[in-house]
Symmetry: C2
Subunit: 273 residues, 2 copies
């Protein structure tokens, strides 16, 4: 039985093994949409990853991830741009719906978040022509403000959309419920994103109460406080009908057998999302 509309981010079932093993696990549960990380792609090689995708008719809802533009000096920023150009080529080879951007935080030693944000805008502008030529939409993922210093200084949907407006075509947003569920302007910004054709991905998981670890305590859908059905309705009303991609970083779920995690994802996708 297939599960249309459900995608699995490889981070959710890292314990299954390599690219092929994770795909096999997904297929066993009828899941034909995936979102791999570059480390999974590199481990088997880009050609083999592309072959697996094509042979199984998979949808690649995103490649994780480009970004990390801010750096203390011009050499570092140039290196980041070059790395992002390679990310684009890999996403193109897999026919991915988008390349997800975790834009980066403060350069080491810096307290200048405005400066970091300017570096992000410059970096995105620098890679966008290549992304457009390659047919790879760039998806800025606003990350929870908790990660502003060390992972992403783009922290709100509206902020990401302002960037998109400044940058033009070929760029949009990956909306992860975990990062934005609390946003006081969420409804309006989702509608704005949809009106601009900017929604490129919809990531799901849940926010646990209490959240005990900073990085690895995301919840399975239905176990937390995010109103996922209402969220999905907003996303669909805004015109996005792509798959919902499960991305769960969790010590709890990472310690369970991958097959059990996938079975739970399917069940919760049907009942809680």
């Amino acid at each position: 039985m297939s599960v249309p509309g459900l995608s699995i981010n490889f981070a959710t079932v890292r314990q299954l093994g390599d690219f092929g093993a994770i795909v096999d696990g997904c297929l066993k549960h009828g899941i034909t949409a995936i979102s791999p990380w570059r480390e999974h792609i590199h481990a088997v090689g880009l050609d083999e990853a592309a072959r697996i995708v094509k042979a199984n008719g998979l949808t690649v809802t995103g490649v994780c991830r480009g970004g990390f533009f801010p750096a203390p000096d011009e050499t570092g920023r140039r290196a980041a741009i070059d790395e992002n150009l390679r990310c684009i080529d890999e996403a193109a080879a897999l026919g991915a719906d988008c390349l997800v951007m975790v834009v980066g935080g403060l350069p080491k030693g810096s307290k200048d978040i405005k400066g970091a944000r300017a570096m992000v805008a410059d970096g995105l502008a620098a890679i966008l022509p290549h992304a457009r030529a390659a047919g790879v939409p760039i998806a800025i993922e606003p990350l929870h403000p908790f990660y502003a210093a060390d992972r992403a200084c783009v922290n709100m949907l509206g902020q990401a959309l302002d960037l998109c407006d400044a940058l033009g075509d070929g760029i949009g947003v990956a909306i992860d419920v975990y990062h934005v569920w609390w946003d006081p302007d969420l409804d309006a910004e989702i509608a704005r994103a949809g009106a601009g054709g900017r929604i490129l991905a919809h990531h799901i998981c849940d926010w646990l109460v209490p959240t005990v670890h900073v990085l690895n305590d995301r919840g399975m859908m239905g176990d937390g406080v995010i109103d996922l059905k209402r969220f999905r309705a907003m996303i669909e009303a805004a015109g996005f009908h792509g798959a919902q991609e499960v991305e769960i970083f969790s010590e709890v779920w990472g310690a369970k057998p991958g097959d059990e995690v996938l079975a739970t994802c399917v069940e919760r996708f049907r009942t809680a999302c």
Copy 2:
């Protein structure tokens, strides 16, 4: 040697002991502005706390804390309002500059953050007449979005100011650098707060990279990535010249002798803020 412009929140030096012991510790370092928690007030009794404040000519930059308005039912919400009325009386008895509000998160079992926010607005409206009559300004403290579910569903300065605008006189904001430093609209919202006469308190600490604990890993000023001098300049340009109140929840600093913590606060206040 006195340290004008520096206030110590009792949470920063809890290890010193009771209300009187913390005040003695502060006075030894020339600090004459304090911000006690209700548990410290209750432990010695309100009359004794007021006596200590008056006898030493202390400034009370805030009382921590009222709030926690959302509740699953009307009885719970009514009880929260009654408790807040008592908070106001205590803050009045101490002649506090403001009563700090940690407004509360989602009611148990709820996924309705909009509903929780409405309960907060209703609760604040219910207590405001008493606060005005008692001469106690109410200071909404927007908390970092990390706490949206379980502590405060008011998470941005602009959101708090919208509430103030809707509620009228006698209410403003406590601006804690830890909670709002990442806000893309920070400059504009601080200016807005100042223009409206809404800045009632300025709390300081720092954001560490990495931040390893969810609740108790705030940094001493100068040890993290917040541009505290720029922040202070914005606050002062907005017209607030009250003391900067050090509020550090930290397992690291909580394990050091209180006297050492206070000495460090004074030194960092002079060099890093």
